[in-house]
Amino acid sequence: MYRSHVLVCGGTGCTSSGSQQIMETLKAEIEKQGLTEEVSVVQTGCHGLCALGPIMIIYPDATFYSMVKVEDIPEIVAEHLLKGRVVTRLLYNETVTPAGNVKALIDTDFYKKQHRIALRNCGIINPEVIEEYIGTGGYEALGKVLTEMTPDDVIQCLLDSGLRGRGGGGFPTGLKWKLAKQNDADQKYVCCNADEGDPGAFMDRSVLEGDPHAVLEAMAIAGYAIGASQGYIYVRAEYPIAVQRLKIAIEQAREMELLGNNIFGSDFSFDIDLRLGAGAFVCGEETALMTSIEGNRGEPRPRPPFPAQKGLFGKPTILNNVETYANIPQIILHGPEWFASMGTEKSKGTKVFALGGKIHNTGLVEIPMGTTLREVIEEIGGGIPGGKKFKAAQTGGPSGGCIPAEHFDIPIDYDNLIAIGSMMGSGGLIVMDEDDCMVDIAKFFLEFTVEESCGKCTPCRVGTKRMLEILTKITKGQATMEDLDKLEELCYYIKENSLCGLGQTAPNPVLSTLRYFRDEYEAHIKEKRCPAGVCKALLSYRIDPDKCRGCTLCARNCPNNAISGTVRNPHVIDQDKCIKCGACMEKCKFGAIYKK
């Protein structure tokens, strides 16, 4: 028995901030102080508060230390673990009340509105030890399904729960399974989409790193429900830690006979294999993903036939994403009514969002559907740093759109987001402030789509390229209002005529910014001005003669010798020579240089 457990986050965010060295130092220090028998060090998955990594939680009192450094370890061991005194200076400041008392993590702004279902074990159990998953009720749902429920019961349970696909489209999961069950075949497949390609979304990775068995268990349940004996997880090769933990988890589940032949003594057999992606965004599209597993170029194919009829290797197949699967064992255990009691009328349960961009608390949050954007950004996210003004929240990645401040109070769910021109997507939520140019952001996403378009259908391959060209013209101040009309027309054409989801949604970033920020587009075109001061071609750097002291620092730092002037006299920037690198503005100590 250990008297204390030290949980160190081993998710990608904290690992990048050095949590591995912290683990090693901690173990060494504990040994040095003779506490090895009394204190156990546990590597966990992500806690969500990535901005404050590396994170360490010490139980039984759940003390939450943030931004821990290797140098802090001897103090933590000597003070906290040996003498029982909290190292106050390392506490997450939100857990300290004004009176100096420590409050529980779940009472902090970041955590109190969250409700963790998909992330329930992340940061709590050691993902590399199957017993810890079983200890929190793991594989109970699979046992229940195999011993007490028929496949139809399982599907009905999911239908009643109202669970919809968390990968972006929001298709009812139970219906997907029902369709696949109806098709008879000698072989069927269960696939897991872990090719989380939306830049800025990393919830699937956190689930795989923090609670991989939840996904394996749910896939086995799916196999039982539709009559499949083989599963594939298609995971991004860019997620090495997730791949490693999945391999360990599959191995352990096989050893415990939770995967393999005759699971729980029933006549149901199911096994899972991993397939690694190779860096193609389009492979997040279901038919492209299956084509890729088959060993081909990951190009989508037309539907029908739908995967439920003819999917992987031509057999009936279901494909769900990681977060969807992570919900399923909980729904089976607690019943569909429990799940359906959360959320809005048409979107049940919770959704995980990855908060990023210009926001204090970057990280992962799981909130009930129907929470407003205001609650997410201002309360959970802690608002925007530097006193800047909120401009837009981008959801849905390259397929989504930008939500302006006027929709701050709209309850977030699938249908509301689509109604305001964005979409849920996989749950990336990037906050932008007044310094971000909306035309530039639209161009950024189009660059992404152009690069990732697989080239199979013309509207997407050629159309997105033309869109990018027009956007580039706009950001350079060379476009006319006719170009803007052409851009809009192209958007609708591409939306209607592309083969797969990638092309059909590619114009969304442009359409939504045109809808809410048309004035910014027009400023670029009519006034040759970038209101946010981002588009370089439209900027000029100037020196305010009243503020310039003539220190010559700017002239000495200009890489192109564009600044002239004599000591103690105001300097001037030669606009023809200026390459707009901004070096002068960075160096000026008197704030005399401004962008226009």
Binding site: G13, S17, G197, R205, F313, F448
Partner: protein
């Protein structure tokens, strides 16, 4: 995406070839084996030159044009060798709004190469990538497996110096 070193002659060793043949023998009969084979081949050789693709084709019976098609489709497969230190800068949305574009420009300026290229001495190669999932640390870059977060352009010379 030309490497600045013009044409790099293929210099595979018999050990590498034996390792590749072993991988192929193990995986050959599984369904959809081509990508896993290519991924392991790239791990063995560091990249997938046409010589290696030909070997895969000879051993598996899969036509070379199909292998070439797959290798050019996925951004992870490299037909040219990478630098000893592979730098990838995240240009995902979260990093982009936090200024990873400026980080990338600074690297281009300091190394004298652009996206997909490697330096003439073979030391550094530079790539942009889409989201390594460390959005909490934005902007982020990776040098081989080492992650650097919360970067500013001024940090770059110091970091590169560690690899000189």
């Amino acid at each position: 995406m030309a490497c600045k070193k013009e044409h790099v002659p293929f210099s595979g060793t018999p050990q590498q070839e034996a390792a590749l043949k072993k991988v192929i023998a193990e995986l050959k009969d599984t369904k959809g084996a081509l990508m896993p084979i290519m991924q392991q081949a790239q791990e063995i050789y560091g990249y997938l030159p046409i010589e290696v693709q030909t070997m895969i084709s000879d051993e598996t019976g899969i036509p070379l044009e199909k292998i070439y098609g797959v290798s050019t489709f996925y951004s992870q497969f490299a037909l040219q060798p990478k630098g000893k230190y592979q730098i990838s800068v995240c240009l995902g949305t979260a990093c982009y709004v936090k200024g990873s574009g400026a980080i990338f420009s600074k690297l281009e300026e300091l190394l004298g190469i652009t996206n997909g290229e490697c330096t003439p001495d073979g030391r550094f190669s530079l790539d942009s990538c889409r989201c390594v999932g460390a959005c909490g640390l934005a902007p982020v870059m990776m040098i081989n497996d080492e992650v650097y977060g919360r970067l500013t352009p001024d940090d770059i010379p110091g970091i590169l110096a560690k690899y000189q």
